[in-house]
Amino acid sequence: MPKVDRKALKKYISVFTISFQQEFAYRVNFIMWRVRNVMQFFLIFFLWDTIFATPGVNVFGYTKAKILTYVFSLILIRSLVLSTRSVDIAPEIARGDVSNLLLKPINYFKYWLTRDIASKVLNLSFAIFEAGILFILLKPPFYFQGNILYILFFIVSITAAIILYFLLVLLFSMPTFWFPQQSWGFMFLLLVFVDILAGGVFPLDILPVGIQKIALLTPFPYLLFIPTEIYLGQLNYSSILGFLAVSMIWIFVLVYINQKVWNSGLRAYRAEGR
């Protein structure tokens, strides 16, 4: 068993605690962010509720219980996968503030991953509360997954999605080394891709097969769509294993690309503004 470096662990626990407290320092910001999430949920929920208004209807291979479970699960899965603090990496590079962290005896990537985890824990706890309230108010039919194997696959896919999103944010932050003025531009592009290809508004399988196939070649459906589909039992075991393999491949590819881009980025880094 690998030996746990207690000293290093203590460092990251401190980063986690400080980051957690920082989120509370801007309470209005945080509450507004959660309000936005609930509003986005309303549109998607009522849209699907209307489509499945006729009892027993089956559209795009979904029953009402399954599609509304999809929508409800998104509240929790979004907060777990898409909540992040590492979006601050790009403006940090643009301001030249990245130098501060590079000089400290701390791993830059682990530092941001720890901050991401703090953000996820906080957002998830609020999301559970919101989902509970909305569930009581809207009383939707809910699909409970009873198959333990599916639940295990779901946990694996969520873990892969969290890592994948962290790597994507990192990748889209790094062009700032070369284009310090574009710190928000690349992140905006990432958010657009996530918005349309991750399945946060609609399950991708309502689209024509050709578009679905193209979308599944990108890393984005593995963030929200595939984990939710696994939970709902919409996929058979071989498809699940196939999709998990693709997300693992994406993780390896992104780790490799990120390492290359980070190294050449540091060479181009001019600590502008310092």
Binding site: V28, N29, M32, W33, V35, R36, M39, Q40, F42, L43, F46, L47, D49, T50, I51, V59, F60, F179, Q181, Q182, G185, F186, F188, L189, V192, F193, D195, I196, L197, V201, F202, I206, L207, P208, I211
Partner: protein, 298 residues
Amino acid sequence: MKISNIKNQNAKIFNKYDYEFLSKFFKSVTTYILTVNRRFIYYFKLWLFMSKNAFLVYILDRFSFSIFLFGKVMRFLMYFVFLYFLVKGTKTLAGYNVNQTIFFFLTFNVIDILAQFLYREAYRFRSLIISGGFDLVLAKPVNPLFRSLLGGADLIDLVTIPPLFVATYYVGSLLNPTFINAILYLLLLINGFIIATSFYIAVLALGIVTLEIDHTIMIYRDMIALGRLPLDIYKEPVRSILTFLVPVGVMISYPAKAMIGLISIQGIIVSFGLAGISMFLSIRLWKFALKKYTSASS
């Protein structure tokens, strides 16, 4: 004295006063129109000047312009494709067919993008408030609301407006509207834009009072995004809240319904009334907020 003479004398006196009153009245009206006209030209020239400066920033930074334009167009197209395949697969959405549903979506975009094009400066307002830079705006011989709202038009949105208008016109013509329906659509669209303007003013006012604007403006965007689809998809009381309390329905759904011929005369009267009330309240809120401005950190 004869009665007829007294009558003539009274008429002369009356005519004299009448003439003086009328000449004064017309003089003041003409002066008022000329002043308003002069003010309008002054502000229009200012707007052109500020917009030109804002456009120059984009032209200098073409790479950034391309990224944002690509992202916006992609998001629009993908949502369009999703709606098309969704309603095609289900045949109707809350009783509306594909063209009608897409027309709701396009109407939402017309109001949203037009407001974003004109009021982009609102997104930069927070930095003015927290840095105290708003002092400089207040010191200038320009209405601070005008400067804060219309101080920098967005070139990216301007580029997307012509194709959006063409698409809206095309899909609208597929609905076979009558002349009256089309006129009502245009009037209610302007009305919806007035409500959008009052939302932006309210957001700016809240920005001064609470120093929080980025999320408030995004909440406004999320709120009006609820009108992206016909409000008939929402259940009560959400539908009524969205129609009258947060008049997203009046802003977006009512113009589209007018085009389809589904709006009543009461609906039209309520729409204009709500626009008037929301504009009145937002201006009051802005005036209140200006009094609360503390000029912190300047």
